[in-house]
């Protein structure tokens, strides 16, 4: 079996990730931050260590500004719903966003938010002139994916930050597809809010993710969208003001966070640069191989430096669902077909509503895996 669905979730998980999760339940089973006994403190230490590791990996100077959430969707919602006033605010986003960005923004738009979607070119590249123009009237927030989950296109988030800051807007980046696979230095890029998921490039389990808040951003501007127990300021019946407690509600996913910490530690040891080099080599091989099959149309940039390892394609005369089914049944190649929760991106590509076949390589794949996938696509295309 060849797993090429790392853009959905990375697999297989590393043995140390599994060990960290079972270890948390076996040995550190207390509720982190709720009690003063040793098991609670041990659990709290594991959660805190994960904050430090994430801060180190993603360039956050203060680990207390690493807010842990159940996934990137929660992180994006906490940021957008907490920050925005739909009656007065204007938001600019891009034409390749995932539904985790578009659905909350469309819901706010229905309440009065002024929402501008800046178009992207046919390979997903953002039209930076249109972005600058869209920002002329000012904005409260710019929301941009770091990379498309459909065709891998990287957006120039550093340049977007400059344009956003020039009009006094904040930048929220959805790093679901890039954290752990592309080096990210959030302060150097000017990212005010960085939302990430734990179960993709960061190699952790599902049910983990977070939001990193820049040191300059006053956390009081983000209203907590939920509230509840934090283990702190228990005498007060309102949500505490300090981070991370302000934006963490109720008991967290301790074993998941422990596993995430092990995944991030692996990345720090191995090096995100090395991950990137590995994935670029695999992507180049995939693009070269698929490019030789005449009836295959590929989407996204052909330059591997401008994209992630997520490759989208169609085969002329074959529905995407048929291709995905045959890849799995006949060749043991696991892909994802359809709209990938990103109808906006598929409208940009011109592949709405059928979608594409997505082959997303990751750290666990080899060149031999890519060759099998290319051979399988060639055979399906020749039938």
């Amino acid at each position: 079996m060849i797993y090429l669905d790392h853009a959905a979730t990375s697999w297989p998980k590393l043995p140390e990730v599994l060990q960290a999760m079972t270890g948390f339940l076996e040995r550190a089973g207390g509720n982190p931050g709720r009690s003063g006994h040793r098991l609670s403190i041990d659990a709290g230490r594991i959660v805190y260590e994960t904050r430090e590791l994430l801060a180190q990996l993603l360039g956050a100077p203060d680990p207390l500004r690493v807010v842990l959430t159940p996934n990137v969707t929660y992180a994006l919602n906490i940021a957008m719903l907490g920050l925005l006033n739909p009656v007065t605010d204007r938001v600019v986003t891009t034409g390749i966003e995932h539904n985790s960005v578009m659905r909350p923004l469309r819901a706010l738009e229905a309440q009065g938010l002024e929402l501008v979607v800046v178009p992207c070119g046919p390979d997903g590249q953002l039209d930076m002139e249109a972005m600058q123009e869209a920002l002329l009237p000012g904005a409260r927030l710019v929301v941009a994916s770091h990379a498309s989950n459909v065709m891998g296109t990287l957006l120039p988030v550093g340049e977007i930050a400059e344009l956003a800051h020039a009009v006094g807007a904040l930048l929220l980046v959805d790093a679901a597809q890039t954290a752990g696979v592309i080096p990210i230095d959030a302060p150097a890029l000017g990212i005010d809010l960085l939302a990430f998921t734990g179960h993709k490039g960061l190699l952790g389990p599902p049910g983990t993710g977070g939001l990193i808040i820049a040191p300059e951003l006053d956390p009081s501007v983000i209203r907590p969208i939920l509230s509840g127990g934090t283990g702190s300021r228990s005498e007060e019946e309102r949500q505490p003001e300090m981070l991370p407690d302000r934006l963490e509600f109720g008991t967290g996913n301790g074993p998941g966070v422990a596993g995430l910490g092990a995944g991030v530690q692996h990345l720090l040891d191995y090096g995100v640069d090395a991950v990137r080099a590995h994935e670029c080599a695999l992507t180049q091989r995939m693009l070269d191989g698929l490019g030789k099959i005449p009836s295959v149309t590929m989407y996204g940039p052909l330059d591997v430096e401008r994209r992630t390892a997520t490759v989208s394609l169609r085969i002329e005369g074959h529905s995407v669902s048929e291709v995905g089914w045959r890849l799995d049944e006949d060749f043991g190649v696991l892909s994802r077909v359809g709209l990938h929760c990103a109808p906006a991106a598929h409208r940009t590509l011109g592949t709405f509503p059928e979608g594409t076949v997505r082959l997303a390589a990751g750290l666990s794949n080899t060149e031999a895996d890519i060759d099998v996938a290319i051979g399988a696509i060639r055979e399906i295309a020749s039938a």
Partner: protein, 73 residues
């Protein structure tokens, strides 16, 4: 008065950050449940040897850890 002092912190994450920062500064410290007679916003506090008070303050300041109070135990 005992030989110990205590750092009161706003959150568990801040208490655990303090623990690490102070250990890295080679200070003898221990996490303890916050004594109920002292008010704090968080369930755990950092106990240290009172003679180290200046070093504790300096280490926390260097790491920019916000604490609520430093008190003798």
């Amino acid at each position: 008065m005992s030989d110990f002092g205590v750092v009161l912190l706003p959150s568990t994450a801040a208490a655990l950050r303090s623990e690490k920062v102070l250990q890295q500064a080679n200070l003898q410290i221990r996490l303890i449940p916050v004594p109920r007679e002292l008010s704090s916003n968080c369930g755990i506090a950092v106990r240290f040897t009172w003679v180290d008070r200046d070093d504790v303050e300096a280490a926390l300041a260097r790491a920019q850890v916000d604490y609520e109070a430093i008190l003798p135990l």
